[in-house]
């Protein structure tokens, strides 16, 4: 994509890659707040109605980052690896809720999952669909969480049977996420054009 040497926001770091603008493909309905940082030479794809709130860091240093439809990423979340810390693409599904201060290095996060405050998803981990990682929890490197897993308390895991058995609960959850997106689209000024 457009790899013109526009003045990227990235500070002149010691990395060997020159300060090039990250090739971004952002859907026209996505909202990117001001003060979002997108760095790295790899492609970043942001789906429709996705919302990136202030101070989110997308580091496409080790591979592509793909963010799905209706996904919200809250402030201070870091998605991706620092330069030289790892490699691999990161795919985040649709209707995913990523809360404040999380660190995401997973290779895949399934649709409808929610990652709560200050939790860490390790390198190469695969989080299934409709999972929930509650606050301050850690999913280890390379771990695979099956669909409908809940990580709670101090790292315990169980399957959310209610979520698994009832499709209407999953639909309601997605509807709630859509409403959240609708609110955030009203409240957060969009500066997506900066990254195109």
């Amino acid at each position: 994509m457009a790899s013109t040497s526009a003045p990227a926001k990235k500070p002149a770091s010691s990395s060997t890659v020159p300060a090039i603008k990250t090739p971004c493909r952002i859907h026209s309905t996505a909202v990117i707040a001001d003060k979002v940082q997108i760095t790295g030479p790899h492609a970043v794809e942001i789906g429709e109605n996705a919302v990136l709130q202030p101070h989110v860091k997308l580091r496409a240093e080790g591979g592509k980052i793909i963010i799905g439809k209706n996904t919200t990423v809250a402030e201070k979340a870091i998605i991706g690896f620092a330069a030289g810390q790892g490699e691999g693409d990161i795919v985040i599904g649709d209707y995913v809720h990523i809360d404040a201060g999380t660190r995401i290095e997973a290779s895949r996060i399934g649709d409808g999952s929610s990652i709560e405050v200050n939790s860490v998803i390790g390198k190469g981990a695969v989080v299934g669909k409709d999972c929930k990682v509650t606050a301050l929890n850690v999913v280890n490197e390379g771990e695979e969480l099956p669909d409908f897993t809940v990580v709670f308390c101090d790292g315990q895991r169980r399957i959310d049977q209610t979520m698994k058995d009832h499709a209407e609960i999953r639909t309601a959850k997605r509807l709630g996420q859509e409403r959240t997106v609708a609110l955030l689209q009203r409240l957060i000024p969009n500066v997506a054009s900066k990254w195109l």
């Binding site: 200050n118 308390c153 409403r179 609708a182 009203r186 409240l187």
Partner: protein, 217 residues
């Protein structure tokens, strides 16, 4: 006229910007939507603190077409802003904390709710606060998570690394700890009334934080 102004600015070169009411706000804090944030006075906002004032209640159109009368769209209120007593303030928000007003579905729409905080609250570093309200003399340790719509009443102590579950109401004088947070005891008599701990320990947890606010420069 520009000379004295420049000199005045030079005196404020420290980390904190001090306002007329004694609020100290770090230059390194990230404050969004500052028109929706009220600080009562003698509040310290340290470096790296994220305050999401932009997540405020939005004025809705009523069904008859005209704009509905809306109250003030305050998202975060710290300190007794609308109480006539001018003293007894002092809330400290430590480094890298996040203050984010909670949101939930109301009448088919996602709505943000204001967050109210009292006086003499200490919030430890790295905490995430989404509470509906926090009363006065509360001590919150480091890396705590106060989930959306929890209510913390007066004189509580929240130990470090606690996750207070959503909608939990913590009664006055409790000690909360664990993941999920449980009430593990009471603070007992004399909470916040220090005769002074050791040398130079002018402030106590839950007590008057003014000496501590004063010492932060």
């Amino acid at each position: 006229m520009s000379r004295p102004a420049a000199a005045a600015r030079r005196t404020h070169k420290g980390e904190y910007i001090e306002t007329d009411t004694g609020n100290k706000i770090s230059r390194k804090s990230h404050i969004d939507g500052k028109q929706h944030i009220m600080l009562g006075g003698r509040t310290v906002v340290m470096a790296g603190v994220q305050m999401r004032g932009d997540l405020c209640r939005v004025a809705e159109k009523s069904s008859d077409g005209g704009a509905e009368k809306e109250g003030p769209t305050t998202a975060i209120a710290v300190g007794s802003v609308d109480v006539e007593i001018m003293v007894q303030r002092g809330t400290i928000i430590s480094t890298n904390s996040v203050l984010r007003p909670p949101m939930r579905l109301s009448r088919g729409q996602m709505t943000c709710y204001p967050m109210r905080m009292g006086d003499n609250i200490f919030i430890g570093p790295g905490s995430h606060i989404s509470a509906a309200s926090i009363s006065s003399h509360v001590y919150i340790g480091a890396n705590c998570v106060l989930s959306p719509f929890c209510v913390i009443k007066e004189s509580c102590k929240i130990l470090p690394n606690t996750v207070v579950p959503p909608h939990m109401i913590v009664p006055p004088g409790s000690i909360v700890a664990g993941r999920p947070g449980r009430i593990i005891g009471e603070v007992g008599d004399g909470w916040g009334q220090g005769g002074g701990g050791g040398e130079g320990e002018e402030w106590v947890e839950g007590g008057d934080l003014r000496p501590l606010v004063r010492s932060i420069k």
